[in-house]
Amino acid sequence: MENEQVVVIGYDHKNTPVEFRDKISLTSDKVISFTKAVGNNNRIQEIAIVSTCNRTEFYIVTPKPEALLCWLSWQYRYNKQFAFPHHAPKPNILYNQKAVRHLFSVSSGLESLILGEDQILGQVKESYNLLLSSGRKFPLLNKLFEQAIVAGKAVRTQTTLCQGAVSIGLAAVELARKIFRSFEKHRILLIGAGETSELVAKHFASLGAKQFIIANRTREKSQALAEKFGGKVISLEQIPMALSEVNVVVTATNSPTYLVGYEETKKILKLRSGPLLMVDISTPRNINPGIKDLSQDIFLYNIDDLRNVITNNIEKRKSQIPEAQTIINYYADNYLKWRRSLNVTPTIKAVVRYFEEIRDKELEKFSNKVSAQEFQNLEKLANGIIKKIQHQPVITLQKMARKQQLDVSKLHLISEIYSTERN
């Protein structure tokens, strides 16, 4: 086991263009096909694959890491009918410690395109589930993925690496969350029914928002959005009246004029009370900027304000990297310690077997000379002595393994000393 190496061969957004990433990404079925192919190969003992839109990575346990790329390209040709071109991008290849730390960084979101991205942990979990469902025994990768998930969770709970919105839609929702506790009872007016409005509606809906009012130039589009998220449709002319009953207004249209005007809003404000969040994501702006001075309870934000929020959040996430690295190192070290303890296991077994063989041989000499009762007593005595003699070398070996004081040559020497196969 001491010769086995954990190798990662990775294609990700840092080293591979999106066209190639698209071609090599694998669905769950294909991942299973790759996993099954391991059974026919002596070189590869274990394999796990993380395949997302931004990365396809192969985690492989092998005693001989040479020519793994050939094996992979052959698998692609066989399973996906895709031939690696000669000018294919070079993957990122990491071994052992670096490979382990890499997976832990991936699951924590440190390697993601958007720092601290949340989805990746779920994707690593999915890879782990595929590993478990493969029906084969992959002890090293099993433990590696299990620990990577734990590390990913720890980074998310112990640091703020994954906190703070990093997209315009989420930033708008984050602002709303600083004003309103929940959105179940609040009405949200969406002006525009395009992609951005849909994304914003999705974020609000995920927080419990149920009452949307959608205003758009083309009624069909707003009708479709209203059907998807619940709510009612109004015309652009009805916007001023709607302002009296909503708590959040989000505009995302291409309209060249203000859709929420100063005078109409001024009149309507007499009919309402409480905070009103207005988010103008449109360019040119759709909400008259003077509206913010109409009342102390109006909070008006435009796209530049949201961009500032995002920039601040990214900076905050970056400041969390050292803390996240400390957590990753802790879990990676734990995994590596566990691996080292596995390396020493065969040697410990050899030591135990050596003493047990001596005990059995010596006891055999008395088997016909003493009564059954006396033999049992002798057996107890011999077992006691053997256990005491074994104790010190076994404990020392375990301790040395934990402290990384054992290399392959030392382990071979100890195994040779306690070998039971000599004449």
């Binding site: 112990q158 600083k178 009370s273 905070p275 102390q296 309870d297």
Partner: protein
């Protein structure tokens, strides 16, 4: 018993101080573990404070608010209890730093000026007075807490409006939560202070044959209570809320506090016991 009182008198500012530090750390780093420890320490602190007040009352055979400084300890206890309850109801730990700072300050001043001498005052030995004083102080504490929530609302609303995403923006809960906490504390304050004032009038009538309205502090508190109740009722009825109601809440308490403090210093009324 005196030894226990003295020991707790020294220990209370320490435990409240530690709790404040923990709440402060939570306000900045948002680690739930820190908040849980702070909350646990606060619970221990309030329990010990209760033991301290009971032991003090037992030892001196009177209600423990003989002087302004003793009242500060009672005020610290009341704020700690009300905050403890609000925190447990909402599971909202971020505002702890503000309340515990006040609690620590009040208790520290009270500890430093503690004399530990036995004095006799018939008024303070009356159990009805104890109930009246407890309710009144608890009610005033609740209104003070409501004011702090209103103040936080105003500060946060200003920051959101000016797009200043500083430490308060990060640390404080949302405006709606702050508003709801203020409303809860105000209702609690109006009810408890109302009971306290009624008991006070009843007690004054029983002892002196009048309702004690000659004391300006009494009728000002009566007026303040009526104002609070009227404003709360009218805002609730009309559904008006937001920054204006919070500003109003702050001003109302500031006025009450200023007037009562001025009267306390300049007038020698039956509320002075030494």
């Amino acid at each position: 018993m005196l030894k226990l009182v003295i020991a707790l008198n020294i220990f209370l500012p320490i435990i409240y101080g530690l709790t404040t530090v923990l709440y402060g750390r939570y306000f900045i780093n948002k680690k739930l573990k820190t908040a849980k420890w702070a909350s646990f320490l606060l619970l221990c602190g309030t329990c010990l404070h209760l033991v301290f007040l009971v032991a003090k009352g037992w030892h001196f055979q009177r209600f423990p608010i003989e002087s302004s400084f003793e009242s500060l300890s009672m005020l610290a206890f009341d704020i700690a209890v009300i905050y403890c309850v609000t925190e447990r109801l909402k599971r909202e730990y971020t505002t702890g730093i503000f309340f515990l700072s006040i609690v620590t300050l009040c208790q520290t001043v009270s500890t430093l000026l503690f004399r530990g001498e036995k004095t006799t005052n018939e008024l303070l030995a009356n159990p009805l007075f104890g109930v009246h004083a407890s309710f009144t102080l608890l009610g005033l504490s609740a209104l003070a807490i409501a004011t702090l929530y209103a103040l936080m609302y105003c500060v946060l609303a200003k920051q959101i409006k000016k797009k200043q995403f500083g430490i308060l923006y990060e640390g404080l809960p949302d405006l709606e939560t702050l508003d709801s906490m203020r409303q809860n504390a105000t209702i609690c304050g109006i009810i408890v202070l109302g009971i306290g004032i009624l008991l006070g009038h009843f007690w004054a009538y029983k002892l002196f044959g009048h309702f004690g309205l000659a004391d300006p502090k009494v009728w000002i508190t009566d007026i303040a209570l009526c104002a609070y109740a009227t404003i709360w009722w009218s805002t609730w009825k009309s559904g008006v809320h937001g920054l204006r109601t919070n500003i109003l809440s702050v001003w109302l308490f500031v006025m009450l506090f200023t007037v009562v403090t001025v009267l306390e210093f300049f007038l020698n009324t039956f509320h002075r016991f030494v």
